[in-house]
């Protein structure tokens, strides 16, 4: 029986000729990731069980991004614990304030993850790196402790859903709209335990930033991982970032899928997820009149250069509506600098936005943009659960950077074409 891309990578890393869905395997990992929330719990477990060495100094990344720059004393303690652990074990990829970025924007940018690799991370959005053609998935802190100690991780081999992309997205339609559209079709558990595999003739019409956004939100459909076929766009992205050899996998022609969807990119409209689940999608044409209090543009989903470019194009020469706070958060230090050099940060500030150093902050209701009772936010983030960004009676509407920026100007949910 043919294998999917994900199955082929898992088989290789488990030292097996083939694997089948449902099979439980132990596989060698290429990269283990943790952040300032999940790593301290992993360190607790690592030490409690008496481990005293890590499998690799270069095969572990610890990124302080959720509550940094430290939001309070408790968060400062968590960061300190990560910093001391990284120092003690000589963790090469340790990113502190001033060097850090939001982990899933940072690792691909820095070439720390590459096609064909097996990446595990104590953060659910670790699935982002599937955009590169890697098998990449989120796990927990105990998993992280085990993987740091042994370089291995247990997996149940997933079956897959195949998405064949055709056509070219229209103006103002981005990767965010594509993934919200798909989650709207299959639901928040539509890919539970499965891989979401993307390919097809329309793939070349999606930039790497679009793909990173799509793979990032595979978890929002319950998927174990999202994975893209490798093409010229991938290779161009990796050029100059990754100098180690990497393997390119493609699905077998006779790979078996649980379901196959044909997605015509040209038919997708700007899409918004209404509270309180990402599957509650409406096209921009169906949103009606929804007044808003805040806009957040950033996060591991949409804090990359093309996201800021789209927002800047809309906000340039316009003003954020009275009564609306617009917070823009570049994903990494490098993106921050590039956005500054491109003049985007000036565009944002002149429009009346707050521009922040990289942080996950508001996305998970940590800090830097918490909502009060009854407030509504249009966010380029990934979850709109009850209380996600603050008060349990606040609301988050998920959208692309273009829709978020247009909404900031309009004071209500709006598409760029309506301005």
């Amino acid at each position: 029986m043919g294998m999917t891309m994900s199955q082929k990578i898992l088989a290789k890393k488990a030292g097996l000729d083939s694997v089948a869905p449902g099979q439980l395997i132990n596989a060698d990992v290429d990269m283990v990731l943790g952040n300032d929330i999940t790593t301290p719990v992993a360190i607790d477990e690592f030490e409690k069980y008496g481990f005293d060495s890590v499998y690799s100094k270069t095969g572990i990344s610890i990124v302080l991004d959720h509550f940094v720059p430290n939001k309070d004393i408790k968060a400062a303690q968590l960061s300190k614990r990560c910093r001391e652990f990284a120092g003690k074990y000589g963790i090469e990829h340790f990113f502190d304030v001033g060097r850090m970025g939001i982990e899933h924007a940072l690792l691909p940018e820095q070439g720390i993850v590459a096609p064909g690799e097996l990446i595990v991370g104590a953060d659910s959005h670790t699935c982002t790196y599937g955009a590169l053609g890697a098998f990449s998935t989120g796990f927990g802190s105990t998993d992280m402790a085990a993987a740091m100690a042994t370089g291995k991780c247990w997996f149940k081999v997933p079956s897959a859903i195949r998405f064949n992309l055709t056509g070219k997205p229209g103006r103002w339609v981005s990767g965010k709209d594509v993934i919200l559209h798909i989650i709207g079709i299959i639901g928040v558990d539509g890919a539970l335990y499965k891989s979401m595999e993307f390919g097809g003739e329309g793939l070349g019409n999606l930039s790497m930033d679009d793909r990173l956004t799509i793979a990032n939100m595979a978890i929002e459909a319950g998927a174990k991982n999202g994975i893209f076929e490798v093409d010229e766009v991938t290779l161009a992205y990796e050029k100059g970032r990754v100098d180690r050899p990497f393997e390119i996998y493609a699905p077998d022609p006779d790979a078996v899928y649980d379901a196959v969807y044909d997605i015509d990119l040209s038919a997708i409209r700007p899409t918004v997820s209404f509270p309180h689940l990402p599957e509650n999608t409406r096209t921009i044409d169906e949103v009606g009149e929804v007044r808003i209090d805040q806009v957040v543009i950033g996060s591991c989903t949409n804090g990359r250069m093309s996201d800021l470019a789209a927002a800047a194009e809309i906000l340039r020469g316009r003003r954020v509506a009275d009564g609306v706070r617009c917070i823009v958060i570049p994903g990494t230090q490098q993106i921050y600098k590039e956005a500054m050099e491109a003049g985007y940060l000036s565009d944002f500030i002149e429009a009346g936005c707050a521009v922040s150093t990289p942080t996950c902050g508001p996305c998970l209701g940590g800090y830097m943009g918490i909502l009060a009772e009854g407030e509504r936010c249009v966010a380029t983030t990934n979850r709109n659960f009850v209380g996600r960004m603050g008060h349990v009676k606040s609301e988050v509407y998920l959208a692309s950077p273009a829709v978020a920026a247009a909404s900031a100007v309009a004071g209500k949910i709006a598409g760029p074409d309506s301005l």
């Binding site: 929330i37 927990g140 105990t142 209380g387």
Partner: protein, 164 residues
């Protein structure tokens, strides 16, 4: 191994943000962290939960973030088992890795009501509803996963395998 307790029942898509909100994730003390379990959807949960009690959910229990704090605070509150129609996959592996038994059983999730007394036999997967005098059967764990649960978690099982 068996457990008996009173059921606290919730709906579909119970996400990790409501199990333990991110605003609490700066807390290192596990007892203090556990006092916030489920507070955004059931402020009374931590007051009424007793050792051995069970949580029953619907589809996709534990969806959202990878935070292991979610199964951790459930276990810390003395919950002996979570039963749901399906679990989000990271929650599923986190629960197993920390030794919190979880069972997938659609029939049990539909039939069991809030406040029912339930007995679970983890070796057979049989779930007995003592209140309604019914029983349901979940698939028992595969040997690979049972070894982790029997060792009270992943790291113990790894230590055992390493002969330490």
């Amino acid at each position: 191994m068996k457990a008996t307790g009173t059921v606290h029942k919730y709906g579909d898509n119970i996400d990790t943000d409501v199990i333990i909100p991110a605003r609490c994730l700066n807390i290192s003390d596990r007892g203090e962290l556990a006092s916030h379990c489920m507070e955004d959807i059931d402020a009374e949960f931590v007051k009424k939960v007793r050792p051995g009690d069970m949580i029953v959910g619907g589809w996709n229990f534990g969806c959202g973030s990878s935070r292991e704090h979610a199964p951790m605070v459930i276990k810390e509150n003395g919950v002996s088992c979570v039963i749901a129609k399906t679990f989000a996959r990271i929650f599923y592996r986190n629960a197993i890795n920390i030794g919190l038994p979880i069972l997938e059983c659609e029939q049990a999730s539909d039939a069991i009501q809030n406040g029912d007394r339930v007995e679970v036999d983890f070796d057979t997967g049989v779930i007995r509803n003592l209140t309604r005098e019914e029983s349901y059967t979940a698939a028992p764990f595969p040997a690979f996963i049972k070894e982790i649960i029997d060792a009270d978690g992943l790291l113990n099982s790894i230590r055992r395998r390493m002969g330490k």
